[in-house]
Symmetry: none
Subunit: 243 residues, 2 copies
């Protein structure tokens, strides 16, 4: 896990609704980002609507710093990214969130990612402060990410290179070995043979091969094979009507 | 761009708030997903709160289909993923959204991704229908994704490979759909029940779930399932010593 000082700072430029600021805090903390900066929030700060929307990400809201201009908010940052879907008359490299996250992990110095106001986005002067533009590749017929969603995609991509709780396959057992599968196939065959499944004899070889193919396809583990052997034992028992 | 029939279906299981259903539709359409299915939405359907939250993604809401059970909602799907952060006593491979998206692009047959209710998530029986679990690697100290955010991360990952989408698996027979597998499971159960396999009753549910897990793991195709049904028919026939 990165030290806090190595994690990117999320900068909301002229955010409007407190609810959205809270939702951003929640989105951030899900992926381990904790430093939020607010540039000229429309309704002042603190904003009572932010807390409930943060759903417990209070630590992010409590640490949020307020600035009067974007330039001040990023004065201590070495790498500034501007998130925008619109061309802003500024020539900058355009990165996906994935590429930006890779850059952020690979470079020394603090990184900040700017997000604009809910409807209007970043202004040209904000974008001009940035080294690069981050644009989420999106459905050209329906581009309607809200602020917290744009933040969460960036935070999510950043977190991928972190050691958060990665799902692991360690609980998964390895596939059963060939000998166990052979026993399973033989068990099936022993039950099927007296039932006439392998008749006529001319087709028996192909039928056995098909059955083996089906039973060896899954890569069942030891426990799964044992369970199936149990199933077969039950199927081979005397039937209630025979007792 | 994928054909609509190749895109994953988003299935919301017992969603509560119409606002969240609308937000999911919006999240989906941003990344080109259009097919939404609702299992037993708490407040019925249509829900007047959904439209405003969809912010214009009406095409998704208008096409949404309602089902009374999860099994019905995925009956025509070959690959079912269950999104959950909690262990559910079901042994399945655990994938990141990225890995699941890669799988979905690489395989023939329709895929569905299940998302549970806002607070409670998916129930064990829902997860048991799935081949794999999708878990977003998240801050272990603050795991608080809302429904639309969970959906957007999955949709975003799926959309990444869209421009690269190539039809590779077309020669493979697609896996049998859920309805065929249900018949196979039921056939096994019908033979095992009179043999006492599901006794004592207190363990029957877990035993059924284990058996279903084993039988749905392989991704057998239609012909393979038919062969196995044939095997079961032979096993259920009167035995030679009974004749």
């Amino acid at each position: 896990m990165s030290e806090p000082a190595d994690r990117p700072i999320i900068v909301l430029v002229r955010p409007q609704l407190g609810e959205n600021i809270g939702a951003v805090a929640r989105a951030m903390l899900n992926f381990g980002l904790t430093e939020l900066r607010l540039v000229a929030p429309r309704d002042g700060w603190p904003n009572p609507a932010a807390g409930p929307a943060a759903s417990g990400a209070d630590v992010v809201l409590e640490g949020a710093q307020v600035y009067s201009s974007t330039a001040e908010a990023v004065a201590d940052c070495a790498h500034i990214y501007a998130t925008t879907v619109r061309k802003r008359g500024v020539t900058r490299p355009v990165l996906t969130p994935e590429a930006a996250a890779r850059e952020i992990h690979g470079q020394a110095g603090r990184s900040a990612v700017l997000f604009g106001a809910e409807r209007s986005g970043l202004e040209t002067d904000d974008v001009a402060l940035a080294r690069a533009i981050v644009t989420v590749p999106i459905n050209p017929m329906f581009a309607s990410l809200n602020l917290a969603q744009a933040v969460i995609l960036m935070a999510y991509e950043w977190s991928k290179a972190e050691t958060l709780a990665q799902p692991t396959a360690e609980e998964l057992l390895p596939p059963a070995d060939q000998a166990e599968l052979d026993c399973l196939v033989a068990h099936f065959e022993a039950l099927l043979e007296p039932q006439g499944y392998f008749r006529p004899p001319s087709r028996a070889t192909a039928t056995r091969r098909t059955l083996r193919g089906i039973l060896t396809k899954p890569g069942w583990n030891h426990l799964e094979v044992r369970t199936l052997r149990g199933v077969l034992s039950y199927l081979g028992k005397p039937r209630p009507d025979e007792l």
